[in-house]
């Protein structure tokens, strides 16, 4: 009678999150600040990406105590991160009852060849992508939501822009292609032909696609929305800034009214210091989180 964990139910939650902001939080207090600011969901973490980057070493799934404390603190959906390929961390998160799992490059990958087979789970997954091929490979593995990767923990939006533009350009390119060319394009993208055909037919990705990785200001959020993002993940950008509550609220308002420069000017005022940013050129390839996963 009632069917649970179907693809419609999994992707349906992503549809409900559209036009919203998902915020990284590490404590129940932060989760309440995020909810109060109008976040549509929170990502429960032990450390925000900027601190993971600073700490180095192996980054893993958060302690379940932190995740359950955050789940108890708010009524909005709670997401949590598992390492790429670490399907046991995902099983644990599913058993805790989190609403979404982020198979995330922010954590140290557990498998350098295989991502998690997400079809096996009742809980939905969101995955990162830098381009259309990556997005469609994650889709084929059962992801129910996507996000462009950007470069997490940098406070620098340049990689988020690069990845969103790349995905959008590749979608537009597909739309102008002859059907006879799709097989070769699928091979070049490393993506299943059925999904490539679907993207051409829809004129967009088959899943909801948010932006992530480096968004630090209301203007950054609006920029990503104008580039075609369905919504915004803010990682370190909020709780590494000088006034998290005000900034969180401003980013929510900017995401709703992303096309209205007057609103954007208004909400950008008096927010205090944004998180300190890092120039991408100063990060060695081995330290780039976006290069994790394939």
């Amino acid at each position: 009678m009632a069917e649970q964990g179907t693809f419609l139910v999994k992707s349906g939650l992503a549809e409900m999150l559209k036009g919203g902001v998902i915020m990284d939080v590490t404590t129940p207090e932060q989760a309440r600040i995020a909810e109060d600011a109008g976040a549509v969901a929170v990502m429960a973490l032990e450390r925000v990406p900027a601190d993971i980057r600073a700490a180095g070493g192996v980054a893993r799934m958060a302690d379940p105590t932190i995740i359950t404390a955050i789940m108890e603190a708010v009524t909005i959906p709670v997401m949590a991160k598992a390492r790429i390929g670490h399907f046991v961390e995902a099983q644990i998160l599913e058993s805790l009852g989190v609403d979404y799992i982020d198979e995330s490059e922010v954590l140290t990958p557990a498998d350098e060849e295989h991502h998690i087979n997400k079809w096996k789970f009742t809980v939905p997954f969101v995955c990162g992508a830098r381009n259309l091929g990556e997005a469609l490979r994650r889709t084929a593995e059962g992801a129910a939501m996507l996000r462009t990767k950007g470069e997490p923990g940098t406070g620098n939006v340049v990689e988020a822009v690069r990845h969103m533009r790349t995905v959008m350009d590749e979608v537009r390119k597909l739309q102008s292609m002859d059907d006879d060319e799709l097989a070769t394009e699928a091979k070049n993208l490393g993506a299943p032909i059925e999904l490539v055909r679907e993207v051409k037919r829809l004129g967009r990705l088959p899943l909801v696609n948010f932006s992530a990785g480096g968004i630090a200001t209301p203007a950054d959020a609006a920029l990503m929305m104008q580039l075609g993002s369905d919504g915004i993940f803010v990682g370190s950008g909020i709780f590494k800034s000088s006034n998290p509550a005000a900034r969180a609220r401003a980013i929510v308002l900017a995401t709703t009214h992303f096309n209205d420069p007057k609103v954007l000017a208004e909400v950008s005022q008096n927010l205090g210091e944004a998180m300190p940013g890092i120039e991408i050129a100063k990060i060695a390839d081995k330290d780039k989180m976006q290069l994790r996963g394939w």
Binding site: L8, K18, T75, V252
Partner: protein, 221 residues
């Protein structure tokens, strides 16, 4: 000079957060002129307003911040119909149960004689899809209200409505003028009252436009 003056009902979709595009597509397919509503001033001249599914706390806060509540109530009193899906159901309810402090302080329209129970069907892993009998829409029953447990299967005259429930609320009970339209597992998942309509499920996700057509009829009656 236009030969035909077919009236196209003007339906707004509140465009602050949530599954806006899906409602816009279905309403358009069902023959409405659809307007995305970002500001209270845009409510003028609407026959109906859809409050989409999304996060009720986020939509409620944004409506509050941009001063939507009183203008929406006024437009309703002046004849506009309102359809709330999921989050919209919570925002229309006069009373909310579950969710503790957040529910007590939830800014909302509070127009409908229903007690909503937030996320009552559980978290995401408990989310589900199922077939519903909605007598007034699927034509399965003779009377306006399904009986207790009347939750599944096709009726003699119509196919059931395939419904998707995402971290869904339900209506704990109705009172006053509100009427139950459908139940699942003995829980109220659809109700109406005068020009107000609520569903705990998301007809915008399945492409079946019967609920939207019902609402358009309600808005133009």
């Amino acid at each position: 000079m236009p030969q035909q003056m077919d009236y196209k009902p003007r339906i707004g979709v509140l465009d602050l957060q949530g599954a806006v595009r899906e409602h816009v597509n279905l309403l358009t397919a069902a023959g409405a002129e659809v307007v995305r509503i970002k500001w209270p001033a845009e409510l003028r001249g609407l026959d109906g307003l859809v409050i989409p599914g999304g996060e009720s706390t986020a939509i409620g806060k944004l409506m509050d911040h941009y001063g939507f509540f009183e203008p929406v109530r006024e437009a309703y009193r002046a004849g506009m119909a309102i359809y709330g899906t999921c989050a919209g159901l919570i925002l229309l309810a006069k009373e909310i149960e579950g969710g503790g402090e957040i529910s007590r302080t939830q800014p909302r329209l509070g127009l409908m004689d229903i007690v909503a129970n937030r996320n009552a069907f559980g978290r995401q892993r408990e989310s589900f899809e199922a077939d519903l009998d909605i007598p007034e829409i699927t034509g399965a029953g003779a009377t306006g209200v399904t009986g207790a447990g009347g939750s599944s299967g096709a009726g003699a005259n119509g196919r059931p409505f395939h419904a998707v429930f995402i971290r869904a609320p339900y209506v704990d009970h109705v009172y006053g003028e509100a009427k139950v339209m459908a139940t699942f597992d003995e829980k109220i998942v659809m109700a109406h009252q005068e020009r107000l309509l609520v569903t705990a499920f998301h007809p915008e996700l399945t492409g079946d436009d019967r609920v939207h057509r019902y609402f358009i009829k309600m808005a133009t009656a």
